[in-house]
């Protein structure tokens, strides 16, 4: 297994290298870091030229990339063009907020999806199944900004207007060290993310369980006289969980990137907002720093997922 992991790790390095090249090219071509100064009357032509030179933006793209890569290999993600702060510091300020938000969302989503997916599969074509399926499709097809703004309008603005207890918009100043305040401010953003996330996961689990329930060994288990509960939890669910492991494994690194829309709507100081704000300004040290972390997480979690597979599926052996 260790040889397998080592081999995958070496492959991952090359993958990461390619990802950084692509991301660098895309970032540099999509926005000019000095574009925001284009119409600033206080910056003369000479000022702009001097700034371009100081930031190294007058150098050929390959030179810019390799300079960045040289530092990144040494663990230095560079400084932001605009805030002048180390990128690693900026990420470290935002990452904990994103992790708290996204992992809460992921855990709740998995639990809720499991319950809904199982019910939906076991009660296939029942009224309950139809209701869950309908709401899943609605949740799946609604844009997150609509859900987020709608929830804010109802549970913050209208509830206050109607004299009900209401939830914060996220735009207030609150004590982030107070756990109750934290929970209170997470309810709306997490709920919105869960609505979207659950819709997809629940459908997936339903399909997966239905497929397993139609297998010969399930029929055999039933023929042996096992109860429905035993068949479902002992045989069907464990096998149906296999593809779920893959999906969760691949989703987890994505959580590091935060949720751009939800973070923006609820003024959550996370990675999604950091990425978006600096990507718009073409601040490639920040953008590449974030992408490098997410990409690394993706490759690492892909390897972990493969390894976990060997434990949950005895048919798979690493060689």
């Amino acid at each position: 297994m260790w040889a397998y992991i080592a081999r995958r790790a070496i492959q991952a390095l090359f993958t990461l290298l390619i990802i950084t090249v692509l991301c660098f090219i895309l970032t540099r071509l999509s926005a000019d870091p000095l574009a925001q100064y284009a119409t600033n009357p206080n910056m003369s032509t000479a000022d702009k030229e001097a700034l371009r030179e100081r930031l190294g933006l007058n150098q050929p793209l390959p030179v810019q990339y390799f300079k960045w890569l040289g530092l990144a290999i040494q663990g230095d993600l560079g400084n932001s063009f605009f805030s002048k702060q180390p990128v690693s510091l900026m990420i470290s300020q935002r990452l904990p907020n994103t992790l708290k938000l996204m992992f809460t969302y992921e855990i709740i989503t998995i639990l809720v999806s499991l319950v809904l997916g199982i019910i939906s599969a076991v009660r296939q074509y029942s009224l309950l199944d139809n209701v869950i399926t309908t709401f899943s499709f609605i949740g799946f097809s609604m844009p997150i900004f609509f859900i987020a703004l709608g929830a804010m309008l109802i549970f913050a603005v209208k509830f206050k207007e109607w004299g009900f207890p209401y939830l914060p918009t996220g735009a207030d100043i609150w004590d982030q060290k107070d756990p109750l305040e934290y929970i209170k401010h997470m309810i709306l953003p997490v709920s919105c993310l869960v609505i979207i996330g659950t819709a997809g996961y629940a459908r997936f689990i339903r399909t997966s369980i239905l497929e397993v329930l139609g297998q010969d060994y399930v029929r055999t288990a039933r023929a042996k006289g096992l109860s429905n509960r035993m068949v479902l939890y002992k045989h069907a669910l464990r096998n149906a969980a296999l593809p779920l492991v893959t999906i969760i494994g691949l989703d987890i690194p994505g959580l590091l990137g935060g949720a751009l829309v939800t973070e923006s709507v609820y003024a959550w100081p996370g990675m999604g907002r950091l990425f978006w704000e600096y990507a718009q300004r073409g601040d490639f040290p920040v953008v590449l720093g974030i992408l490098l972390i997410i990409s690394s997480a993706v490759v690492i979690f892909t390897i972990i997922t493969d390894v976990v597979y060997t434990f949950v599926d005895p048919r798979i052996r690493l060689s």
Binding site: S30, A31, D32, M43, D47, K84, M152, L180, S264, A267
Partner: protein, 586 residues
């Protein structure tokens, strides 16, 4: 089956209980609407000796840092207005008024020498930093030294590089001697909308280099403005406490919180729930939405000196007299002033102002709208589609079978069909569609193309469409203030047409007209405002007569604030932060 149903019901009950518990927590801890809802956590632990006054504003972006020499971000300038002030600023009427200075230098008070090369500033007596240290002329000299120090990397040294010396004969006097006439001296060491000349604390920063990466620019320890930053949680909010050593009247609020709220929809909801007290970042398209929330939320629209304008690619690869050569020739018909005039007359600008901008702003006549420099003798050309069509006929462009005019331009049959580039901001998209409709009526095909701002404003070396001349018409917002000339010169001069030799040139119109250069030079040839006004009036008339740009509408600053919040007056140049010491809450 029943067991499964039981499990499901149990889970639902458990989930409901959990949510209720969370909700219950919300109810139990939720502060009532009003002052307490906006109090900073810091205050919650303070002894309630007196009722502290606190207000919370929401800004759509977080400042890069608080020393604007190292950033040109508006939000950095705003926070500097609250914490690190300059010698003078512009008030709500656009008048230049003293801050740390005792008076504005003038020829009458001996502050401006006869040749205009020496400016003498007198500081107020007894100035102090928030930590109690004296704020003296040495701090001004220190600031100049820091800006010019090669070890530091300010974004701009414009104007400062024309200073030959800064002398401090005593603690209250600063004598600035220029190496050449610099009519824009008022923009140096002062707080303005496009310039923020904060005076830096020598006693804190002396001996340091590379200030752009010094912790002070993110976590300043002292202030000279009405407030001092006490906490800055990255990406989330800032807390500012009253500076008891502020030079002016004692700030009324004990605490000001600034929350970073990226979406105006959230800010609007937060104003309605009382989570925030004001939001200064609404756009003109939000005017009607905010106005509908009266009386709970008040709307304030302040027409500014920025303007949205459309312009023609006037580039020529040949240049003029060996100067101002662009990479590409502009759209041939635009070289004819009658075509430019027809397009201007064919766009119903007043209709956009009335419908899309709720009539809260105006169609500007020149590049200095709402400013003392504006040439009041000019009037905006009115919408005249018939006149526009006649002009195009006269210029030789007849209507084709497809409804689009065409005619001879430099020996080639040319259709009046061209692209228009701008950003993808929704208001710009809406207005471009309306312009398209207007121009179609006079037989002109106007094809809008919207890009993200980072792409649209890309520089020459990044292949930006404007500096490389890869456009026909384009549009965006700019403004030439508080000093009228530097921005204009950069935008209209032959010397600043971008090309391979001058990639950072800011003349996006790509126009090279020696007469324009001459008029701009005249506007910059004296430090006497009255003489400058005459020259700048003439410059405006020349641009107006030649229809070099289509002035669309004067940009407005749109604020929303709740009833409990009592702002000061809203500055014409200096937004609402210029007199934060008078902010109050009911």
């Amino acid at each position: 089956m029943k067991k499964n149903l039981y499990i499901l019901l149990s889970l639902i009950v458990l989930a409901s209980m959990a949510l209720s518990a969370c909700g219950g927590g919300v109810v139990a801890t939720e502060a009532p609407a009003g002052p307490a809802a906006t109090e900073a956590p810091v205050e919650a632990t303070e002894a309630p000796m007196a009722e502290p006054k606190s207000a919370t504003g929401a800004w759509s972006q977080e400042p890069d840092n608080i020393v604007p020499y190292y950033t040109q971000m508006s939000y950095a300038i705003w926070i500097a207005q609250l914490t690190l002030v300059g010698l003078a600023e512009w008030d709500d009427q656009g008048s230049f008024v003293p801050e740390l200075a005792a008076e504005i230098p003038s020829a009458a008070n001996g502050g401006v020498s006869a040749d205009g090369l020496t400016i003498t500033w007198k500081l107020k007596e007894g100035l102090k930093w928030s930590d109690g240290e004296a704020l003296t002329s040495a701090d001004v000299k220190f600031t100049f030294d820091q800006v010019m120090d090669p070890a530091n990397a300010p974004l701009s040294r414009t104007g400062y590089d024309k200073i030959a010396s800064v002398e401090t004969p005593d603690d209250l006097t600063v004598v600035i001697t220029f190496s050449e006439l610099y009519p824009g001296w008022q923009t140096l060491f002062t707080q303005g909308p496009n310039n923020a000349g904060s005076i830096l604390p020598a006693h804190v920063l002396a001996g340091k280099t590379a200030l752009e990466s010094d912790p002070f620019i993110h976590q300043p320890t002292v202030a000279s403005g009405p407030f001092v930053i006490t906490d800055w949680v990255a990406g989330d909010h800032m807390v500012l406490a009253r500076n008891d050593n502020f030079y002016g009247s004692r700030p009324i609020l004990d605490t000001v919180n600034i929350k970073f709220v990226p979406t105006p929809e959230t800010a609007l909801a937060a104003l309605q729930t009382g989570d925030v007290d004001w939001y200064p970042d609404f756009s003109e398209s939000d005017i009607e939405t905010v106005n509908a929330l009266e009386p709970a939320v008040h709307l304030k629209v302040v027409p500014g000196a920025d303007f949205e304008h459309y312009f023609f690619n006037l580039g020529t690869t040949a240049g003029v007299d060996g100067k101002g050569a662009a990479d590409q020739d502009g759209f041939c018909p635009f070289k004819d002033v009658n075509v430019r005039k027809a397009i201007t007359l064919g766009i119903n600008r007043q209709a956009f102002v009335d419908s899309l901008l709720a009539g809260k702003t105006t169609v500007p006549v020149s590049q200095w709208p709402n400013s003392e420099w504006e040439n009041k003798s000019l009037t905006p050309a009115t919408y005249d589609p018939d006149g526009a069509a006649a002009l195009l006929e006269e210029a030789g462009y007849a209507l084709g079978d497809d409804g689009i005019r065409h005619g001879d331009c430099n020996g080639e049959d040319t259709k009046l069909s061209f692209t228009f580039d701008t950003t993808d901001k929704q208001l710009r998209v809406d207005i471009a569609l309306a312009v398209q409709s207007d121009l179609a009526k006079i037989g002109v095909e106007f094809k809008p193309n919207h890009s993200p701002a980072g792409t649209f404003f890309a520089g020459y070396t990044d292949g930006g469409i404007m500096p490389t001349g890869n456009y026909d018409m384009a549009g965006y917002t700019t403004g030439f203030y508080p000093d009228p000339m530097p921005g204009a010169i950069d935008s209209f001069s032959c010397d600043t047409v971008p090309n391979a030799e001058k990639p950072a040139g800011a003349n996006n119109y790509l126009v090279c007209d020696p007469k324009l250069d001459e008029l701009m030079a005249a506007g910059n040839a004296t430090a006497d405002p009255a003489t400058r006004k005459v020259a700048i009036d003439e410059l405006q008339k020349y641009i107006y007569d030649n229809y070099y740009v289509v002035m669309m509408y004067a940009r407005a600053n749109v604020y929303g604030y709740v009833d409990r919040f009592v702002p000061g007056s809203f500055g014409f140049f200096s937004n609402m932060n210029w007199n934060a010491e008078v902010w109050d809450v009911k």
